[in-house]
Every structure is written in C-alpha cells, then in structure tokens.
C-alpha cells in the first residue's frame, strides 16, 4: 500500500475568500447592531464617544462601501441599507451630529461620520450649512491634529462637497508614510497611521490613482513585510486594515494564502477576532471587543472582491 502523498493545495482565489469574509462580517454586524444602541437620553456631550457613537460611523462606513462597490447580492444590499438606516436613526437623522458639531466646533468626528452617510445618499442640510460656516474660520486650518487626521477631514469634506481648498500634497507630505521612512522602524500605532493615510487619500480605494507614485512604489515594496510580521503575531485587526491598503493601490496587492487564513480565523457567525487572544464574554462584550475588526473585515472583503472582479 502506498503512502498517500500530501501536496500543499493552492489557496482559494482571493475573490472567493474575500467574499466569504465580507458576507459573514456584514451578517454579523446586522444581527448584532442592536447591541450598539445609544443609551436613552444621550446628548452630544457624551462622556465616551468611542463606545457607541463612533462605532455607528464605522458600521455606516462598511455598509456605504458595500453599496458603493455594487457587487453585493440583493440580500446583502438590503442588509447594508438596514445598517445605514439603523445608524442614521440612532444619530437622530443627523441631528446628533449637528448638535455635537455646533457645541464642539473643533471636533472633526461629526463631519467624518456624516461623510459615510453622504456616500450612501443621506443628507442633513443644517449640518452642511454649519460645516460650511466652520470651514471658513481660521481655526479650521490651525487646529492641532496628527497629519493623517487632516487627511480624514479633507476626504470627508471632499465627499460631502464642502467648498474647502485642500493641498493634498502638503497634507500627504506631513504624514509618516509621506516621508517613505525606514520600513523597519514602523510600530503598531504608526502602522494604523499608514493605513488611514492611504484610506483617506484614495477614499477607501475609490481613487487608487490619487496615491502619489512614490508611495505606491513604497507600499508595493513593504506592505508584504508588514503583513507578514503582524500576521505572525496574530494582530488580525491591523492585518485586515493592511489588506485594505492592498486594495487601495493602483496595482492591488492581495495574497491568496493570507486571505484564506483570514477567512479561517473569522468565526462561523462572522465575528472577526481583534487578535489571537481567546474571544470571551457574552454577546455585549464580544460586540464591544470585536465590532471594529468585523467592520474592517467587511470593508476589506468588499474592496478585495471588487478589485479582483475588475481585473
């Protein structure tokens, strides 16, 4: 009797793994969205904006990109629309964003959240009038921010159609990535800065051509290394964000084996674990801990599928 030969099977095509990841992630977000409801009586003075308010914007981002890319099934499109409706309802049809922006003029999150809804066709005219007004103040250019946040604001303003002049080159040059530094010096936090720099310049992969050629070249060279080292230590949230970067390049970078691994790391119900640690706690705890990576998985899968389909 001969011993069966074990041959390494070729990984599934990126499109298949990516579709699996995004569909399951979107389903999980829909089934659990009620866990992300703002407590009754929440006002724009919320003590902890990171707990519920900002995740609503992240959900809206994922759902808006599903609709933008236009490759989802009718049922997935319906899910995406329901998620946007849910989040918009929670933000009281945008009134919450308006009140927060009026009260805290230098905060940028109301505009950033709003842009995701604008992408999907939601509008709040008074908020836009307020943003127009604030955009004319000197303070807007003087506000002290990390460089990639300025790009976030610039992209949100671009999406919203605000008449603001943006010097994209100057903003890009101010970021860590914009300086194409020594790739071996990067740390975990800076890696997130790199991903967001790319997300905002390219509007989450809608404008790959807007990434300056020297940054495209730099990322083509070093992205595989960064993916490799953070995959090794199972930083799945960051790995998935870096995979989005791959989909934002002019020449997309997608490693089928890594996509297959990510699909295997994702739970059957669609939850994407933040990292390699045990997923613990009740549904509410899991939602708090793993909502972000699951949003990122939905975005990453949607964009990778889209880029694979258009090649």
């Amino acid at each position: 009797m001969s011993t069966p030969r074990t041959t390494a099977e070729a990984p599934a095509p990126v499109g298949r793994s990516a579709h699996r990841v995004s569909t399951r992630a979107l389903g999980w977000l829909r089934r659990h969205c009620e866990l992300g409801t703002l407590p009754p009586g929440t006002t724009s003075d919320m003590a902890d904006p990171d707990s519920i308010y900002k995740p609503l914007g992240e959900t809206a981002l994922a759902a808006s990109l599903v609709l933008r890319e236009g490759l989802a099934s009718a049922s997935e499109e319906r899910t995406a629309r329901e998620l946007l409706d849910f989040a918009w309802w929670e933000l009281r049809g945008g009134d919450m964003l308006y009140e927060r922006q009026l009260r805290y003029m230098m905060m940028v999150d109301p505009l950033e959240l709003y842009a995701h809804f604008v992408r999907a066709g939601y509008r709040h005219r008074r908020l836009e009038a307020l943003l127009d007004h604030l955009g004319g103040l000197v303070t807007m250019d003087a506000v002290e921010q990390v460089p990639n946040r300025r790009l976030a604001v610039a992209n949100a303003a671009r999406l919203t159609g605000l008449a603001r002049e943006t010097d994209w080159k100057r903003l890009t040059d101010a970021t860590w990535l914009g300086n194409t530094p020594e790739p071996w010096v990067i740390d975990w936090m800076t890696a997130y800065c790199v991903t967001h720099t790319v997300f905002h310049i390219t509007d989450w992969g809608a404008r790959p051509g807007d990434l300056p050629p020297h940054l495209e070249e730099y990322l083509q060279l070093w992205l595989p290394v960064w993916l490799d080292i953070w995959r090794e230590v199972q930083e799945w949230d960051l790995v998935t964000e870096l995979l989005i970067v791959g989909s934002c390049l002019r020449e997309p970078y997608a490693d089928p084996a890594l996509w297959e691994e990510l699909a295997s790391v994702q739970h059957e119900d669609g939850l994407m674990p933040r990292d390699g640690k045990e997923v613990e706690g009740d549904a509410a705890q899991r939602f708090r801990d793993h909502h972000h990576p699951t949003v990122v998985a939905a975005v990453a899968g949607t964009l990778a599928l889209s880029r694979a389909a258009r090649r």
Binding site: W184, E217, W222
Partner: protein, 260 residues
C-alpha cells in the same frame, strides 16, 4: 553519566564564539594576526577549535579580504586540517555546500598564493584542487527564481559568510538580482528583532552596495542600528563588522530616494 572528556555542545558553541571574537579583533586590526593558527594552537581541545573553523567557514578569511591582514601558512594548515577532520558532507544542504566550496577556494587562494586575486580568477578552480569539494548547485531558496522573498532571505542569511569583497559566484549574482527581496528580508528581521538574521542580510545589502547596486533600504542606517544594538553574540558582531567593512569601502549611498 556523560564522559567529562567528551566536548559538550556548550564547548562547541563557546569555541565558535571565541573564534568569531578573534576574527573580529583581527578585522579591527587588533590582537594576534595569526587568527586561525593561534586559536587552534591555544585551544584546550584542538578538535573543538577545528570544528569552530569549519562553522565560521569563509569568515576566517574576512580579515585578509577586508583588512588585508596576513593569512599565513599556519592559518592555511589549520583550515586544511579542519576540512580533513570534518570533511564536507556529500549530502549537505546547498547553503552548507556553498560555504564549504567557498572556504576551499579561499584556502587555495591563500594556501600559497598572494592575497588580492579575485576568487573566480584563482587557478585552483578544478575539483581536484579543492579537496574533492565540487561546485554545488545553486541553493534551493536562492537559486530558484520562483522562491518567495522569505525563502530567499532565509537561504541567503545562511549564505552570509559568502558576502565578502573579492568573492564572486552564482550566489552573489542572485543577491544582486534579488536585492529587493533581500531588503524585505532585512526589514522583516529587524521588525521581528531577529538581529542575527538582520546582520547576515545586512552583509548582502552592503555587499551589493560595494558592487555599485542600490538596495531599497538605507543600509548605512541599518548597520549603524545593529552596531548600537550590540546583541546576538560574537557571530552577529562579526556579521555587523563585515557589513561595516563593506560599507566603508563603498561610495556613500545617496540619502533619501523614494524607498529609503
């Protein structure tokens, strides 16, 4: 009960580190120039010292190649003796076979001839003149064009003792052809804080610079960081010093560029 007269693994490791330290000293122009001969002569167990000579392989010639330190007949005899006692295995991995091949040819160059000839010009190129060691096939990782940057880097790290001036061959061609992948491997090693591997790959980057190529990493900054780190023991210090030696014999790399 272990035999107290049988050298332990620790003895061998210590001998390798000790020889690496001595080679490093010679590279820096300090200490006894007859590195290999003295190491073997002074060793409590010469066989263990000869094993260390085999482990360091072509690196025992680094002071001669980089610092024009003398490599005397005593040194040559010690290297020949190490090859006699620990002959190259016919079924050795390609990386080990290439290190042996290079050691043997350097020995032929320094066994009686004068230093300064390039390895490929050495007349002792036939298998008969190289103690029966035949030219290996190109190493799997490094030689196959389809290997990934990680496979290549792993293989080339094991081949780092070949990254010396005036030593040439297919492995060096591979290093130049796939410099981009070696840069990735070096960055990966640094990020994983695997400084021994980073130093080995830095040698290849410095070697490429020495030959006029331009790696995708600021190699001088990388080597400086490794020097300041000073971790990883004698062999890593030696790898770093060889990289430094290659850089010092190279025109400065233009700073900046798109992929600094």
């Amino acid at each position: 009960m272990p035999n107290p007269d049988t050298p332990s693994r620790t003895d061998y490791t210590a001998a390798v580190e000790s020889l690496a330290d001595r080679v490093l000293g010679a590279l820096r122009g300090a200490g006894d120039p007859a590195v290999v001969a003295s190491q073997v002569d002074e060793a409590p167990d010469p066989k263990v010292a000869l094993a260390a000579v085999r482990v360091l392989g072509p690196d025992v010639f680094a002071p001669a190649l980089l610092a024009e330190a003398p490599f005397g007949p005593g040194d040559a005899r010690a290297v020949a003796e190490s090859l006699r006692i620990f002959p190259p295995a016919p079924d050795a991995a390609p990386e080990a076979a290439w290190r042996d091949w290079t050691t043997v040819r350097l020995l032929a160059r320094y066994g009686g001839g004068s230093p300064g000839e390039t390895l490929t010009d050495t007349p002792a190129d036939t298998p008969e003149d190289t103690l029966g060691v035949r030219e290996p096939t190109p190493p799997g990782g490094a030689g196959s064009p389809g290997s990934s940057w990680r496979e290549l880097s792993l293989s080339m790290a094991q081949l780092s003792p070949l990254a010396l001036p005036n030593v040439d061959g297919p492995v060096h061609e591979t290093a130049l052809d796939r410099l981009r992948d070696l840069s990735r491997g070096a960055a990966r090693a640094m990020l994983r804080r695997d400084y021994p591997t980073a130093a080995r790959l830095a040698r290849w980057l410095a070697c490429a610079l020495h030959r006029g190529a331009r790696p995708d990493l600021d190699t001088a900054a990388l080597v400086r960081h490794l020097e300041l780190h000073c971790g990883g023991g004698g062999r890593t210090a030696l790898d770093t010093a060889v990289a430094r030696g290659l850089l010092d014999r190279t025109q400065p790399q233009r700073p900046g560029g798109p992929t600094a």
